[in-house]
């Protein structure tokens, strides 16, 4: 009889007591995972999370209580877990995993790393660190009722970046600035406006009418003329939005009239835009105030207060009130202060709700409740305890296989809402081999990138291409010009002078090669440069060999998105009948026990496209900083999610 400790063989139980594991993230999946690890007998656990506890976490992150709101997730999770296993050795880090302190040597201390993250940047980074340290990684994600777990082992399986993930959806500048047609365009505009007025001004987040919109011009020459004219004008359009607002003392009515009346009237002069579209109708504060009917106190409704849709004057008042509050917040912070937008900061959320709705009204769209605007503006992914509980259970089971040395029995497991054609609610799939062309885990990763070398700056290369697109945290770049010219140094200040220069100024042209390194990630990427002058508007670069950036919306599935954006009265996901649909064919269902006697290479025989990998999509790619105070945080979407077709 095999010697057991609980349900485990003694050797396994012993190794659980001695090995060290890392849990990255102490949120929805993280809390459940920590509990499972401790109860299963893991004794040495490190847990890291940069976030603090919010009341909306409490429906599922059960290691936290109301009294813990505002405190560090990692630290409270550790304390709570120790309550039910006082002998466990848990180390908590209230920090970002992307901090260079957590280098390859740090990762090598662990026998196993388990991600419980909610954003792609961190997942990419941990993926690379685990490849560099050659430590097995268990990746996972959840969204609503759906979830997934998979195992990543260098050389044996696909890494997290082997299969390109759909890029985050972005909208062309002229759609945001001139011709919005959907509520989301107005919401994005409102968030840009927040930054322009109260936060960090960003050249890519302009809110004023786009005079260089090619659609507006009679002929190409006029586009150029208009663009240069607006620069030479010396009128208010040259002054930054923030400077202008400051000059008015952030007078809400003046700001209102500029954005919702004057700028709209300007758009109306660009008449070509309105030949086939319904023209916007400007708003006038005074007129609205005069015609406002006093709102009867609506009886305490049975719905959520946030789910009510106000009338235009209601949003005018909300706009005024939030501007005044934000103005005070700025004043309190002192000179040169900047606010960071946070969906859980009421005046910031009020501001976006008001501004977005006023713009929707101007452009003849039905206005939306604060509840719905918050979903879209905050990229909220609905989340419940049970899905996270299931996924966290599966993570530990995969972990046990890994620690038993049974990597071949590891699987990707998908949690469905309804059983598939084979009656499976939980679908295990054989892990894929690494992609030979992977730009991360191939032996000498290489990519080809199309840019306009005369219009792309060194800073853009660093931030948009190397960091955002290729997931580097602290890139170093040399030009392969025989001289090894250093273009970008990760040491602060060293190559700052290069930032605003164009690539062409360094002799970079068609066919040039750049070597980009991230030493922390132990990652080298060779970039072949293809010069082009024919990129789409608002597109700064294109990675060759990938589909153009027309990805589906980065939500968990279309149904959920439609439900939210259509303003479903209940704000619920549509109740599905759980009939088994053809969609299930999208899953590559390979189970070792289904094909008795067939070799595991029969995995290749399956038809149908593979379900896309777990991930979390964010609206903007900003790095989350440790939340030391509410206003300092840039809020990512909640929790772990997956992106499905």
């Amino acid at each position: 009889m095999v010697q057991l400790v609980g349900s485990l063989r003694k050797e396994l139980a012993d190794s659980l007591s001695s090995c060290k594991v890392l849990v990255v993230g102490a949120g929805g999946i993280g809390c459940e995972l920590l509990k499972n690890l401790v109860l299963t007998g893991f004794k040495n656990i490190d847990v890291i999370d940069l976030d603090t506890i919010d009341v909306s976490n409490l429906n599922r992150q059960f290691l936290f209580q109301k009294k813990h709101v505002g405190k560090s997730k990692a630290e409270v999770a550790k304390e709570s877990a120790l309550q039910f296993c006082p002998t466990a050795n848990i180390t908590a880090y209230h920090d970002s995993i992307m901090n260079p302190d957590y280098n390859v040597e740090f990762f090598r201390k662990f026998s196993l790393v388990m991600n419980a993250l909610d954003n792609r940047a961190a997942r990419n980074h941990v993926n690379r660190m685990c490849l560099a340290a050659d430590i097995p990684l268990i990746e996972s994600g959840t969204a609503g009722y759906l979830g997934q777990v998979t195992v990543i082992k260098k050389g044996m399986t696909e890494c997290y970046e082997c299969v390109p993930k759909p890029a985050q959806k972005t909208f062309p500048g002229c759609t945001i600035r001139n011709t919005p047609s959907e509520p989301i365009h107005c919401i994005v505009w409102a968030k840009y406006l927040f930054n322009q007025l109260f936060g960090e001004e960003d050249a890519d987040q302009e809110v004023s009418p786009d005079t260089a919109d090619p659609e507006a011009a009679w002929n190409p020459e006029e586009t150029a003329a208009r663009a240069t004219a607006s620069e030479k004008d010396g009128d208010i359009r040259r002054v930054s939005t923030k400077e202008w607002a400051k000059s008015t003392g952030y007078d809400p009515i003046k700001v209102f009239n500029k954005l919702f009346k004057d700028d709209i009237m300007y758009l109306l002069t660009m008449d070509k835009l309105w030949k086939k579209r319904k023209a916007p109708t400007p708003l006038d504060w005074q007129q609205l105030e005069n015609s406002a009917r006093p709102q009867e106190e609506s009886p305490a409704s049975s719905g959520l207060k946030d789910q009510q849709v106000l009338d235009v004057w209601g949003y005018c008042q909300l706009f005024r009130h939030s501007v005044e509050t934000l103005r005070s917040q700025l004043q309190e912070k002192g000179a040169g202060a900047e606010l960071v937008w946070d969906k859980d900061d009421p005046p910031a959320m009020d501001f976006v709700t008001a501004a977005a709705n006023l713009r929707m009204n101007i452009f003849s769209m039905n206005m939306k409740s604060r509840f719905d605007v918050k979903s879209m503006a905050g990229n909220i992914i609905p989340a419940i305890a049970t899905t996270n509980a299931v996924i966290a259970g599966l993570i530990v089971l995969e972990g046990l296989k890994i620690l038993s040395g049974e990597l071949e029995s590891c699987r990707s497991i998908f949690l469905n809402k309804c059983p598939n054609l084979r009656k499976k609610l939980l679908v295990p799939c054989i892990l894929d081999k690494p992609s030979p062309n992977c730009y991360v885990c191939a032996s000498k990763p290489e990519v080809t990138v199309k840019v306009n070398v005369q219009k792309t700056t060194v800073l853009s290369l660093q931030d948009k291409i190397l960091k955002e697109r290729f997931g580097m945290v602290a890139p170093d770049v040399q030009i392969e010009d025989g001289k090894g010219t250093i273009l970008i140094s990760s040491e602060e200040g060293e190559t700052e002078a290069n930032n605003n220069k164009f690539l062409s100024e360094f002799g970079i042209r068609n066919g040039s090669r750049l070597q980009a390194d991230d030493f922390l990630q132990d990652y080298t990427l060779l970039i072949n440069v293809l010069h082009t002058e024919e990129l789409e508007r608002d597109v700064e670069f294109e990675v060759v060999g990938e589909a153009p950036d027309k990805a589906p919306p980065p939500q968990s599935n279309k149904e959920e998105v439609n439900s939210i954006t259509n303003g479903n009265k209940d704000s619920a996901q549509p109740s599905t009948s759980c009939k088994v649909t053809a969609d299930d064919d999208d899953l590559m269902i390979i189970d070792s026990d289904e094909e008795v006697g067939a070799p595991s290479s029969s995995a290749a025989v399956a038809s149908g496209t593979k379900r896309k990998h777990p991930d979390s999509e964010t609206g903007e790619a900003s790095t989350k900083r440790p939340r030391t105070d509410q206003s300092a945080a840039t809020n990512y979407d909640d929790d772990d999610i997956i992106a499905l077709d």
């Binding site: 009889m1 057991l4 609980g6 349900s7 485990l8 509990k35 499972n36 109860l39 299963t40 009341v55 909306s56 409490l58 429906n59 599922r60 209580q65 309550q83 039910f84 296993c85 009722y145 305490a300 049975s302 719905g303 959520l304 207060k305 946030d306 979903s375 992914i381 609905p382 419940i384 305890a385 049970t386 899905t387 996270n388 509980a389 299931v390 966290a392 259970g393 599966l394 530990v396 089971l397 046990l400 699987r411 497991i413 949690l415 009656k423 499976k424 609610l425 939980l426 295990p428 209940d570 704000s571 619920a572 996901q573 599905t576 009948s577 759980c578 189970d591 070792s592 026990d593 909640d638």
Partner: protein
């Protein structure tokens, strides 16, 4: 019966339940909020279920368990403090269960479920069932039709039969303290059960025995999660429940929904 709904949802509830209201809607949340649930047994699986339902925001949850806290209990579930050995398991779990969500009324009851009068159960909300457990287990396996479906029947179904028979015969679950004797008995029962069904004992290989002695946290988490969601569906009257058994194989990662019962 689900209590007359209080139509107003407080700001506190709206804030705390925000992420789940966005998934299943306000009406479903209100129905949950009006439901009283009875949970019989607070072992590993019971604790998971308790957590999931308390977090979901039911009106009340009664933990019913006559067992006492053992050495094993502390390893199996996270509601019982390590200092509570010898106490009644339901009562020992009460404090932590309540702390999960102060908006839920959590009660502990140390009685045996068999000792409860019929009307005790009336205070809880009924859960729909398609057929009784007894009917589900009394499947005629010797027919051709049954034999044909055997190939796609999860082996765990037969394991369930074996465990239930053990429990009936011994009045308890397999105990690590009497590992050798219990293993012998389990093997015997397996042979008997399968033979009585007209099936070969090869169907359930010997290694099943090692899985019978304790609950395993991650498995409790998976099953507790699926089961928890089924209860939420029933109480909120939203989305069709799975019909009617769910089997989870922790080694393979298969989670199968299958139907057993009168056709």
């Amino acid at each position: 019966m689900i209590e007359k709904e209080d139509p107003i949802i407080s700001e506190e509830e709206a804030a705390q339940y925000d992420r789940q209201i966005r998934l299943w809607g306000l009406d479903a949340q209100k129905r949950l909020r009006g439901s009283r649930v009875l949970l019989a047994g607070v072992g590993g699986l019971g604790a998971e279920l308790a957590k999931n339902l308390i977090l979901a925001g039911v009106k009340g949850l009664t933990l019913l368990d006559h067992e006492l806290v053992s050495e094993e209990s502390c390893r199996a579930q996270f509601l019982v403090p390590v200092s509570a050995k010898g106490q009644n398991r339901a009562q020992a779990s009460l404090e932590r269960a309540q702390n999960l969500n102060p908006m839920v009324e959590v009660h502990a009851d140390p009685d045996r479920v068999e000792d409860k009068p019929d009307d005790f159960f009336l205070q809880f909300d009924a859960t729909a069932s398609f057929c009784t457990l007894k009917e589900a287990l009394e499947v005629e396996w010797s027919s051709e039709k049954a034999k044909a479906s055997l190939k796609r029947t999860p082996v765990d179904y037969f394991l369930l039969h074996v465990l239930l028979k053990f429990r009936t015969d011994k009045g308890r679950d397999p105990d690590p303290e009497s590992c050798a004797d219990d293993s012998q008995l389990l093997r015997q029962i397996r042979d008997d059960v399968l033979e009585a069904m007209g099936l070969s004992s090869d169907l359930l290989s010997d290694d099943f025995i090692s899985y019978c002695f304790s609950e395993m946290s991650p498995v409790c988490a998976v099953v507790g999660g699926v089961l928890g969601q089924e209860v939420v569906k029933a109480l909120s009257q939203r989305d069709a429940p799975h019909r009617n058994f769910f089997f989870f194989d922790g080694r393979k990662g298969n989670g199968v929904v299958d139907y057993f019962g009168p056709n």
